[in-house]
């Protein structure tokens, strides 16, 4: 199997996952209590008005027809309306997504670099005091949920030290310092647990590789330790870390909802929570689709990266 076939297969898989998820999301939203027409007209609307609106919105059509209409519209770029805010959903989501992406990118970068870096450090200092301290800290970070860190961070840095703003968001136009000061705490809290997670995994996979026959063979060939570590060990040790980073991208999205709520940060997570609270079902549907797509894409990218680093997937067939 060549790289092209691999790519094709994964792309088809990606489309399949998105289609399947769209059915699920559509279905779940329709099981939720609440009625779009009531949500628009208010609780005291007359049954006649509700019926009229339902007919207008096509809510009386069979579910598959509604689903098809919704999917078709999305594929044509029509993401529908937020019925509560009476605004098109697309720009609402785009704006929130942009702010969330800011959090996610910084947090993810911190997770990838910090997690892998700490993992490698621990693996090469196996059994020493620094490794043991790191291990302890990592378990603490993994075990304690992020809302705890979020509240602690607000108490220490915002209320007590008064160094950083506790909540909210400032656009870049108000100055870099102000913009960044609103990002620091959410990003740190978001990254905390995941750094620990990734570094644990990197440590164990690096240790496994360092104990492998081919690393022994590389040393036996008299290669300097630097070469053994960076050329022979690292690429193999990173493979599992990449898979986990993709899974962590999913955890990150979950974390964003929590962190944005605690820090009152106007991102996609908060928008979704808002849509759920206000029964804004069209907005909720589209928002969830966007989240799903991001997660599926992250996994797709991880698989590609994995294939690039792993010749057993990239290069096929026997030559001798």
């Amino acid at each position: 199997m060549g790289m092209a076939a691999f790519l094709l297969r994964r792309l088809l898989g990606l489309v399949g996952v998105l289609l399947g998820m769209s059915v699920l999301i559509f279905g779940i939203v329709h099981i939720l209590p609440g009625n779009v027409a009531y949500a628009i007209l208010g609780e005291f609307a007359t049954p006649a008005a509700v019926a009229q609106l339902e007919a207008k919105l096509g809510l009386n059509d069979p579910l598959p027809v509604q689903y098809w209409r919704w999917l078709g519209a999305m594929l044509h770029g029509d993401f529908g309306m937020s019925i509560v805010m009476q605004r098109p959903a697309a720009p609402l989501i785009a704006e929130a997504l942009g702010r969330s992406a800011l959090l996610a990118v910084f947090a993810f970068g911190l997770v990838a670099m910090g997690g892998i870096g700490l993992g490698l450090y621990a693996a090469t200092h196996r059994g020493r005091a620094s490794d043991k301290v790191l291990t302890l800290a990592q378990f603490l970070l993994i075990a304690v949920p992020e809302f705890f860190w979020a509240i602690l961070a607000v108490l220490v840095f915002a209320s007590w030290l008064n160094l950083l703003p506790a909540t909210g968001y400032a656009p870049l136009s108000e100055g870099v310092a102000k913009w960044a000061s609103h990002l620091v705490l959410p990003v740190l809290v978001l990254a905390f647990g995941l750094v620990a997670h990734v570094s644990r995994l990197t440590r164990s996979s690096m240790i496994e590789v360092l104990d492998s026959r081919y690393v022994l063979a590389a040393r036996a060939r008299g290669l300097p330790e630097r070469k053994v570590l960076w050329r022979h060990a690292l690429p193999n040790a990173l493979l599992p870390a990449i898979t986990v980073l993709a899974i962590d991208a999913g955890l990150l999205i979950g974390g964003i909802v929590v962190v944005e709520t605690v820090f009152a940060y106007p991102g996609l997570g908060r928008l979704l929570v808002y849509a759920i609270e206000r029964h804004d079902l069209p907005l909720l549907q589209v928002g969830m689709m966007v989240v799903t797509a991001i997660y599926a894409l992250a996994n797709f990218v991880a698989e590609l990266l994995y294939a690039v680093l792993n010749p057993r997937i990239r290069v096929a067939g026997a030559t001798a």
Partner: protein
């Protein structure tokens, strides 16, 4: 120091090397005062069973034992350089290493080329382009076809034999003077092993290389080495020229090793002579002879400390003169022995096939399904109480056929009869009870959280042999008696057993249902020779006592020749030859059988096998003889197009080949070459 080097002409000198590792039970003495030397251009074999410390010697020479190990030596020198202080300066440069299982010793993420040229770049400072060219030449010298293409390949694209050639090339890249070979052919098929040995032999004379060959396989040591040292539990027990040590052994342990070895040149040669007992506890080394508890010749005085003594042929034994002419004693024959092979067929398979498809759902959708016929219309018959041996190279379908006969895999076609009754695709419990299996690795097939008694008791209850607790434990005792384990072992957990004992438990479990047919899938392959002999004897006795029939699957022709009544030789899913052991082991043979037999390293027979690189095609040609592309005796195009017929050389001896029988018979006996 330099004087000594010049005087002895030794490339490598080890004097009183001791290595200890920290372990839970205290310091574990892996090596205890080992001394040996290797002259420039000569080959020394270092033999011993697992746990003897062979590989520790290699790692100590490279300075790669790790910081936890405690290493002492009076002298550890290579060409006058102190290896104690300078191992890192010499390793990879003047000392090359080839490890067992190159599949794991090559980095999966780097190309072959980059791994082969690395030592040149690092040690010789060769610039990249020149090193690449040199690497390509080196691969060509190792007999690798299309070397330029292989340089750009990744390890997973190469066969096992090719990987081992690459491993040797990488070890030779920096032009070393000493090559350390740690079980270099252990993971390979005999045919590939013969090629690698021929290559090493050739290299040693062409490049005047000194070599240290570490192996448990006495046959290949005899084939390649000038001198041999025998290691037992961290101490050298015998050392001398290959002829002296392997053909006229003086130490009881060496005698025992040779007596325990099943030899294909002596089929059915009575019972093997195992060495009883296990390795001693290395955390509390015996100051006296540490082989004493297992030695058949031990007397009261053997507790005294001793050293290697003798001039050239050195032996470490108090009773060396007293036992000089005594052979290692064979195990007594149990009184109940009575051969029981009858003419009644028990297992009858007709035209069984199985195909393994490759490719995912997309390939299937596009109609591009690849696949191999792992077993291709195979018919075998095994009679009551008969042992059918099944040999062939790895991947030939031996294990798959074994599983088909147990209906553990779904056959694509054909019929299976057991005791005259047809066995369907989903056999009933009655069939499962009468047909059982023993695997290679009892290590992984025994539940580590259950005692031996629980493991056996569960099988007893499952097959409703007994259900009341007292009856079950009586039955467990009976099973332990059968496999010659003390009844107290019922309380033990698998990790408290040695390899041979675990395998006995595996056999006992298979016998729990009182089966009439056992598939032994490489059942003794993972065991050391001394233990293997005992398990082989046990299996033979059980056959006689219980009249169980075996399908005995092994890649080791010596084992098959010892235990089997009839042999089937398998090649790429087809049985190419089948007959009584005596018939198959002498002409006429199928050309593939001939190749297999001539590849087996035999003690006392230095045969030369051409270092041919011919390997099997991954997917055999449709239609013709599957062996045609490797066969050196092709008749003509008919071999590629027409499936060969089965020719009857003798009653019950069939050969699937186009070559006329008289021509097949007109080859020299494989032992007389």
């Amino acid at each position: 120091m330099l004087d000594a080097t010049i005087r002895t002409g030794a490339a490598l000198e080890i004097e009183a090397l001791s290595v200890a590792y920290p372990s839970r039970g205290g310091w574990l003495q892996a090596l205890d005062g080992v001394s040996l030397s290797i002259a420039a251009g000569s080959v020394r074999g270092l033999v011993g069973e697992s746990g003897s410390g062979k590989s520790t010697v290699v790692l100590a020479l490279l300075g790669l034992l790790g910081p936890a190990a405690r290493v002492t030596a009076e002298r550890l020198a290579f060409d006058g350089h102190d290896l104690f202080a300078n191992a890192s300066a010499l390793r990879g440069r003047r000392i090359g290493v080839v490890f067992q299982d190159t599949a794991a010793a090559l980095n999966p993420a780097l190309t072959i080329g980059s791994q082969v040229i690395e030592p040149m770049r690092v040690h010789l400072g060769t610039e990249h382009r020149a090193a690449w060219q040199r690497g390509t030449d080196l691969l060509a010298e190792m007999g690798i076809p299309r070397p330029a293409q292989v340089m750009r390949s990744y390890p997973h694209q190469l066969s096992g034999g090719m990987k081992q050639r690459v491993g040797i090339a990488a070890a030779l890249a920096s032009e070393p003077d000493l090559l350390l070979l740690d079980e270099p052919t252990t993971a390979l098929d005999v045919t590939i092993e013969a090629q690698i040995l021929a290559l090493l032999d050739e290299l040693r004379s062409r490049r005047n290389l000194a070599m240290l060959l570490v192996s448990h396989n006495l046959g290949i040591v005899d084939r390649l080495c000038d001198t041999v040292s025998v290691l037992y539990a961290g101490r050298l027990v015998e050392s001398g020229t290959t002829g002296e040590v392997l053909h006229r052994p003086r130490h009881p342990y060496t005698k025992g090793l040779l007596a325990a070895l099943p030899r294909p040149d002596r089929p059915h040669a009575g019972r093997l002579a195992p060495i009883q007992g296990n390795l001693p506890d290395l955390t509390a080394p015996d100051p006296g002879c540490n082989f004493r508890p297992r030695c058949a010749f031990a007397v009261a005085g053997c507790y005294r400390p001793q050293l290697l003594s003798g001039d050239r042929h050195q032996v470490s034994c108090h009773r060396v003169d007293a036992v000089a002419d005594l052979p290692w004693p064979a195990e007594p024959v149990p009184p109940t022995a009575a051969p029981v092979a009858s003419a009644v067929p028990l297992v009858e398979a007709r035209e069984l096939s199985i195909r393994f498809d490759s490719g995912g759902w997309l390939q299937r959708l596009l109609g591009k399904v690849g696949g191999v016929l792992a077993v291709d219309r195979v018919s075998v018959t095994i009679r009551n109480g008969e042992v059918l041996g099944l040999v062939g190279e790895s991947g030939c379908g031996k294990s798959t056929l074994g599983r088909l006969l147990l209906r553990l895999l779904p056959a694509r076609g054909g019929t299976l009869r057991f005791a005259s009754a047809v066995v369907g695709a989903r056999p009933d419990a009655h069939f499962r009870q009468r047909a059982q299996v023993v695997f290679q690795n009892s290590d992984t097939s025994l539940n580590p959280r259950q005692t031996v008694g629980m493991i056996l008791g569960r099988a007893v209850r499952w097959f409703a042999i007994a259900s009341i607790d007292a009856e079950v434990s009586a039955e467990v005792d009976r099973l332990l008696d059968l496999v010659r384990l003390p009844r107290s072992y019922a309380q033990r957990y698998p990790h408290q057993l040695s390899g041979g004992e675990k395998q006995r438990v595996g056999i006992a479990r298979a016998l729990a249902s009182r089966p009439k047919f056992l598939v032994c899938d490489e059942a003794v392959s993972a065991l050391d020779v001394s233990v293997q002999a005992a398990v082989l004897n046990l299996l033979r006795d059980l056959r006689d006592e219980l009249s169980v029939a075996y399908l005995f699957i092994s890649h080791d022709i010596g084992v098959i020749a010892h235990i089997a009544d009839r042999v089937a030789v398998m090649y790429q899913g087809t049985i190419v030859e089948e007959g009584a052991v005596g018939d198959v082991l002498q002409p006429p043979y199928h050309p593939y059988t001939e190749l297999l037999l001539s590849s087996v390293p035999l003690i006392g027979k230095r045969r030369t096998v051409a270092a041919s690189t011919q390997a099997a095609r991954a997917v055999p040609m449709a239609g013709g003889c599957k062996f045609a592309d490797r066969c050196t005796r092709r008749v003509g195009p008919i071999c590629d197009s027409v499936p060969p017929p089965v020719q009857q050389a003798a009653p019950g001896h069939g050969i699937r080949c186009h070559i006329p029988l008289p021509e097949l018979a007109a080859v020299p006996h494989w032992l007389s070459q």
